[in-house]
């Protein structure tokens, strides 16, 4: 899987590139700012672009804007944004229209190489990856007359994992249960939250996120 990496801190960029290389990814290009990133994406047509949200010159949200541009111009390229902020609204901007080939992770996640590689792969394959911290904030947000309160703890866990963008098998693996059990939970959650059932994972993510944000 071909990866382009954009991160202004050379040390971190090299570290991430190394981890990805060791995990079997092919890092075809590295960039220190958004312009360079766009050039590399255009040149190498990677499967996934990993982008730091904060980059020169203003160190605010260049990465996020570049990510959106990539999604518009190169829809086949998955985008994974790395951020140091636990701010759902950034993630939601990215996931606004489609959860296909999109990811938003805290930089902390890099240290868990296996999880990180898994997320990169999911995004590269057209799936989605949302940081568990963000998801837990979305799920944990208090609402008036909250139907989420009706979910069992397990169902809540499944909801969170769905929001992270994991497939049923991924969830089963994570929770160490059968896929059949996961499917049962998913059906129960959708009926409790009065959501229409969705088969494809990325559509499911979008539905769940839309629900959580409302």
């Amino acid at each position: 899987m071909r990866v382009v990496l954009a991160e202004d801190s050379v040390l971190l960029r090299e570290g991430v590139a190394r981890i990805l290389g060791e995990a079997g990814f092919d890092v075809v290009g590295q960039a220190g700012n958004a312009d360079e990133l766009m050039l590399k994406v255009r040149s190498y047509s990677p499967d996934v672009a990993i982008v730091d949200i904060r980059m020169p010159p203003s160190h605010t949200d260049e990465g996020l804007r570049a990510a959106q541009e990539i999604r518009e111009r190169h829809p086949t390229v998955g985008v994974l944004v790395l951020s140091q902020y636990v701010e759902p609204s950034y993630a939601m901007e990215l996931l606004a229209e489609s959860a296909e080939g999109v990811g938003y992770l805290l930089k902390d996640r890099i240290s868990d190489v296996r999880e990180f590689a898994d997320a990169v792969r999911r995004v590269g394959e057209g799936g989605s990856a949302l940081d568990p911290t963000i998801v837990s904030q979305l799920v944990g947000r208090r609402r008036r007359d909250d139907p989420i309160d009706q979910l069992t703890p397990r169902e809540r866990e499944v909801l969170g994992l769905m929001a992270e963008g994991r497939s049923n098998s991924g969830i089963a693996e994570q929770l160490v249960v059968t896929e059949r059990a996961v499917e049962k939970h998913v059906t129960s959650i959708f009926s409790k939250l009065r959501l229409p059932a969705a088969s494809e994972d990325h559509r499911r993510v979008l539905a769940v996120l839309a629900y959580l944000r409302s």
Binding site: Y85, S89, R144
Partner: protein
Amino acid sequence: MRNRILAVLTLAIAATAGALYLAFTSDHEENPAFVTAVYLVIVWSFIGTGLFAWARRPDNRFGPLMASVGFAFMLGSLSESNDANVFAVGAIVGGLGIAVFVHALLAFPRGYLETRLVFALVATAYFVVVGVQALYNAFNPETCDGCPRNAILVTDSEAARTALGVVAVIGAAFVLVGTAAVLARRWRAASPPLRRTLAPIFATSAATLSLLALAIAVSFVSNQASDVIWWFVLASFATVPLAFLAGLLQIRLARASVATLVVELLSADGLEELQDAIAGTLGDPELELAVWLPETFEWIGADGGAFDLAAASDREGRATTFVEHEGEVVATLVHDAALEEERDLVDAVGAAAGLALAREGTVEALRRSEGRYRALLDAAPDLMFRFDREGTYLDFNGHPEDLVTPPESLLGSRAHDILPQETADHIVNGVREAIDTGRLVTGDYRVTIDGVERDFEARIVKDGDEAIVIAREFTELKRLNLQLERERDYIRTVVDNAPSLFCMVDLEGRILRFNQTLELLAGVADGADARGQPFWEVFIVPDEADEVSRELMSLAAEGAAGEHENRWRAAGGGEAVVAWSTTPLLDEHGRPSFLISGSDITERKEHEEELRRSRTRLIEAGDAERRRLERNLHDGAQQRLVSLSLAMRLAQAKLKTDPAEAGKLLDSASEELAQALEELRELARGIHPAILSDRGLPAALEALAGRAPLPVDISALDERLPPPVEAAAYYVVSEALTNVAKYAQASAVDVRVTRLNGRAVVEVADDGIGGADPLAGSGLRGLADRVEALDGRLHVESAPGRGTMIRAEIPCG
């Protein structure tokens, strides 16, 4: 008309010729030349004036009546005839002239007989003069010496003659007395213009009739004496037409004065002057002028008020004349009905008035100028005197200090007794001119009052038989005084209304006077109680009074003005901080004194103090925040990194000897690292949330809501505000949400951010227990400081049991 007059004139000449022939051919007339001369004068004066009057007023029968008197007298000359029959007719109609005269007199001036009494008088006169004479002659065989015989003699009867004589005397007495009574009554009822017409005729007629009565009365005693009186009767008779002519002439004179009137009217200032001028010319003091306002369809009087024309013209003896200008009715004169006799004059005056009214452009303009004139008159405190013709002071209006002598010695005195000869002449001449002409007379005069020469401008107007002098001073002194007065008023107003505190003190610091602002501040009235008291005792709080008194005392010595700040006494037992300084100046008597001027800076001081406190708190809060950060970094991330570093070293050391142990160490180090990262992230957000500057208030508030442990509804305006405002709003909500979570026991929170009149309004309302004290916690106090630093306001409503509402209003710059 002309032909008729010519015919009558021809007849009169022929008759005269006949009469002359009879007189000079008479064999019984002893002195034909004299008699003829006398008769001709009387006869022709009556015929002449009669025809003249007839020509002037063909509709009036008075003219023909006058002429008839002449012709009737002429018939008397038939008695000069030598023929017995003609002589007999002449003897009967000889006195007809007197009856016709009575007729004419009683018909004057209208030309016809008005009442039954008057008709009876005239009938009686004809009966006595012709009827009784005829009967008398029929019973009287005697004629004059050398006269023809009596052709109508019936019989000689002494008794009949006596009876007829009595009838004649009674009849004559009735006619004379009745006529006198009628004339007297008419005179009394007549208005001034009518009297002017009646006077000459009545006077001469009355004289004639009186002489006639005397002649009749004397004839009982002595025929010779009676004959002498008869000559006087005739002479008096001859004056009647002359008097009539004089009356006509007077109207002519009045018409001549119309020319003067035009000039006067054109210079008249206002409707009242116009009315007075017209009234003067027509000799009708009650004349009223009403002006038509086409815009409002109403009549206004000379006084500018509404005028009831119908009521005015319906009054007995009043008539109206419309004044036209260029075919439009512009005004009406309501005047004495007798002026109808002088129609031409009234019309001429009306035309002049129309001209005068038109001169003003429009009647509206006239009214405006009238209003201005009146306003000026009302505003100016004029001196007014009423004088009679002789220059006697009858009345005055004005300030006694503008008089040369005290008012009590003024009234009843004459101008010449009080004023210098020249000035008195000047004024009295003006008064007479005004009374005589009815015109406005103006002039200047100078008098010495209390040793000061003062100039007055006088306007003299007629008022009946008297004149009113309106005097207005134009002395330079007066002007300067007025100017000074106005300036003083101005300064007083400024001093009293200025926000500054003013107090004048003498060199010992005793109060001379102070202004209204200080009265209000101190609650002390500027009066006898305060004046003369030491300044510091009245206005300064006790513990600073000594300091101020020393300050003022040293000022007297050094004369320098310094800036001071002291606590002054304020109304109601309070005190005020006042910044004050002093300026040396002279008081109104020229004595050196000091003006203390100060301004109440209590509020400014309080504000400054509050600002200082708030700034201090912000600095302290900043310091505290930095200390907290330092402590958190030191206790948290730094500690973790230190232990991480230790763990790494240990793992490194064990890597070869005990790889399993090294793995465990690295696992826990990794754990430690994750926590350190988490802590750093939290710290960073505490310093400044990146999302606020990146995405604005709504996104940042959403994030806050997401972390809040209870439902938070956010409704925020979707526009970017200046960063400091966004930050303040963010921290208001953040702090409020923290407080809600900690204390409110609320089930939900509403957060609203709106924009109102250029201010961002942030409201955080919960449904908790309320009772929050905005000043108790450092949190809210800090928020208030932050908001106030941006010129905003923080408002907390937190009634127990009704939730808490925090509302911040921050100007958006």
